[in-house]
């Protein structure tokens, strides 16, 4: 049962990372006209982004995440999968230091992919971001 839950959680993290990445790309783009649609970042996404910032500064989270990220290839999906796998047990802990949703971990993965592992985990000797 836990395997199924973990698999579903991982899928949600990967798809959440893609959603946050999509929103960020959309915000940085130049549209041909102002269509006046709904806001690109909705309340749920904004909350997840705030959670991700808290996660990126939380010692317990970094202790779990940084060693695993050393082997990440640098692409968003790979980072999201690693982050989801490592943080899934924490997400189940009622006494978790911060709220950990799949979308928040997806947002965290986007932060890591953008800044590079070395920025999040300076003491782990992770790869600095080379491109983009």
């Amino acid at each position: 049962m836990e395997d199924v839950e973990r698999e579903k959680f991982l899928q949600d993290v990967v798809s959440g990372a893609a959603q946050i990445d999509y929103e960020d790309m959309l915000l940085s783009s130049q549209p041909a006209q102002n269509f006046g649609g709904p806001p690109v970042v909705d309340d749920k996404s904004r909350e997840a982004r705030n959670q991700a910032l808290l996660l990126s500064k939380n010692t317990t989270v970094l202790e779990h995440l940084c060693p695993a990220l050393n082997s990440a290839s640098g692409d968003l999906e790979s980072i999201a999968k690693i982050a989801g796998t490592v943080l899934f047990p924490l997400s189940l802990t009622p006494t978790a230091p911060v709220s950990i949703s799949a979308l928040a971990i997806g947002a965290l993965a986007v932060l890591v992919a953008r800044a590079g592992v070395a920025t999040l985990c300076p003491e782990c000797g992770g790869k600095a971001k080379e491109q983009g």
Binding site: A32, G37, Q131, G132
Partner: protein, 432 residues
């Protein structure tokens, strides 16, 4: 071995396209030739006598207490209109680019406009030559389901600063919307009348009227303008209930929508050329960047049409169509949301843009481009272009005067504008 920036960017684009479908709660469509042919065949079967569409219409008529036999006539009319669309469809030519998430017709339109713009390396203007030499192999064209009538330029995430890559992505609904709009406008334009009265106006005859260049020729243009606007603005889908047109309008309609796509693509290229996509750019107000992109985009699309020997007097036709479409959408939305009568003139901004405003109103952009045109062409051509702009604004106004009561009626029934447009993909998947 690490993947190359090109591979990483292709993966990133696909990931973004898939994320867009997920956000819109739609399945990514199968756009392979076999799947498209199967969908076309299914649509034809549905339109056959006694097919699912006739049955659905009959059921609706029965529920309304009307004669279900009338469904036969309605389906016959739809079948004729669908056959006409097929007959006039541009044959598909492989764009040579592998784009599994871009409809081949959209890829073909974009690829054609790109080739036209890239031809500007030979236009003879050093500014264009250097820009398009630098842009070569740096721009990927595709579609992205943003659920907006829009096109957007992105800086691709994986690239060195000295070798940036860009994506220009049109929402598929852009093609849906301007297909129907161009047919409605082309059917309202009397080409003979346009030639005669345009020439008279160009030569200084102030009595020449745009009314002489408009022919309604039956209810089709207004009927279609209403059906398409209602469908897009209230459902976010193209109209299901299509009408037949005079066969002669199709070449003009295609020219108009291709010119509109050319201008919008040129506008997006202009953002790249002007450095608006640079991370450190933007000391100028966003609205100023848009106006500058409009002007450079206009200059580029005008240069393309010059190279193709299009008469100067009609080179703003596609631009006029684009902005006329935006005006009609805005009028329909305001009518639905406020329930008040609106005129095109009401869309003129009442105050100067503030520093943070992005895109000026469509009518302001249209006027600014007329000013730009007037600075580069002889007076008779300027007057011709003014006449053409006036014609499009008049058709927009006349369409609106005729269909506004129906929108106000929709408002009174509680119908409001939809700001998420899913186009034909949403329609095919029965999404609401």
């Amino acid at each position: 071995m690490d993947a190359s920036p090109a591979v990483l960017n292709a993966q990133a684009l696909k990931r973004m396209q898939l994320a867009a479908y997920e956000r819109a709660k739609l399945k990514p469509p199968d756009l392979s030739a076999a799947a498209l042919a199967a969908r076309d065949a299914a649509s034809l079967r549905a339109l056959e006598p006694g097919g699912s569409i006739e049955q659905a219409i009959a059921e609706r008529l029965r529920a309304q207490g009307r004669d279900p036999e009338a469904a036969k006539g309605e389906v016959e009319r739809l079948r004729e209109a669908a056959q006409q669309i097929d007959q006039h469809a541009t044959p598909l030519v492989d764009s040579g680019e592998e784009q599994p998430l871009c409809h081949p017709h959209h890829a073909m339109i974009l690829s054609t406009q790109r080739k036209r713009l890239e031809g500007l390396v030979n236009f003879g203007l050093p500014e264009f030559t250097s820009a398009f030499l630098w842009l070569k192999d740096k721009v990927t064209l595709s579609t992205l389901l943003t659920c907006e009538l829009n096109a957007r330029t992105f800086k691709a995430p994986y690239a060195q600063d000295l070798q940036p890559q860009f994506w220009i992505l049109f929402d598929p609904v852009f093609f849906d919307f301007f297909y129907h709009l161009s047919n409605a406008f082309a059917s309202a334009i009397d080409m003979d009348g346009l030639d005669k009265s345009g020439n008279r106006y160009a030569m200084g005859d102030e009595t020449a009227s745009v009314d002489d260049a408009i022919h309604w020729g039956g209810p089709e243009p207004v009927e279609m303008a209403y059906k398409m606007l209602r469908s897009f603005v209230t459902f976010g889908f193209p109209p299901l209930d299509i009408v037949s047109y005079d066969d002669r309008i199709f070449p003009l309609a295609e020219t108009l929508r291709n010119q509109a796509a050319l201008f919008v693509l040129a506008h997006e290229y202009a953002h790249i050329i002007r450095g608006d996509m640079d991370n450190h750019a933007s000391h100028q107000a966003p609205w100023q960047a848009e106006i500058n992109a409009d002007i450079l985009g206009f200059r580029m699309s005008n240069a393309v049409l010059t190279m193709e020997d299009a008469p100067a007097k009609v080179r703003k036709a596609g631009i006029n169509l684009f902005f006329s479409g935006l005006l009609l959408v805005e009028l329909a939305r305001r009518a639905l949301d406020k329930g008040e009568k609106q005129r095109v003139a009401d869309l003129m901004p009442q105050q100067a843009p503030s520093a943070t405003d992005s895109h000026p109103e469509a009518i302001s952009r249209l006027c600014l481009l007329d000013d730009e045109f007037s600075q580069h062409f002889p007076p008779d051509q300027v007057r011709w272009s003014e006449f053409l702009t006036a014609l499009f604004v008049e058709i927009t106004t006349q369409f609106w005067l005729r269909i506004e009561p129906q929108f106000l009626d929709l408002h009174s029934k509680g119908v409001r504008a939809k700001t998420v447009w899913k186009g034909s993909i949403g329609l095919e998947q029965g999404n609401s």
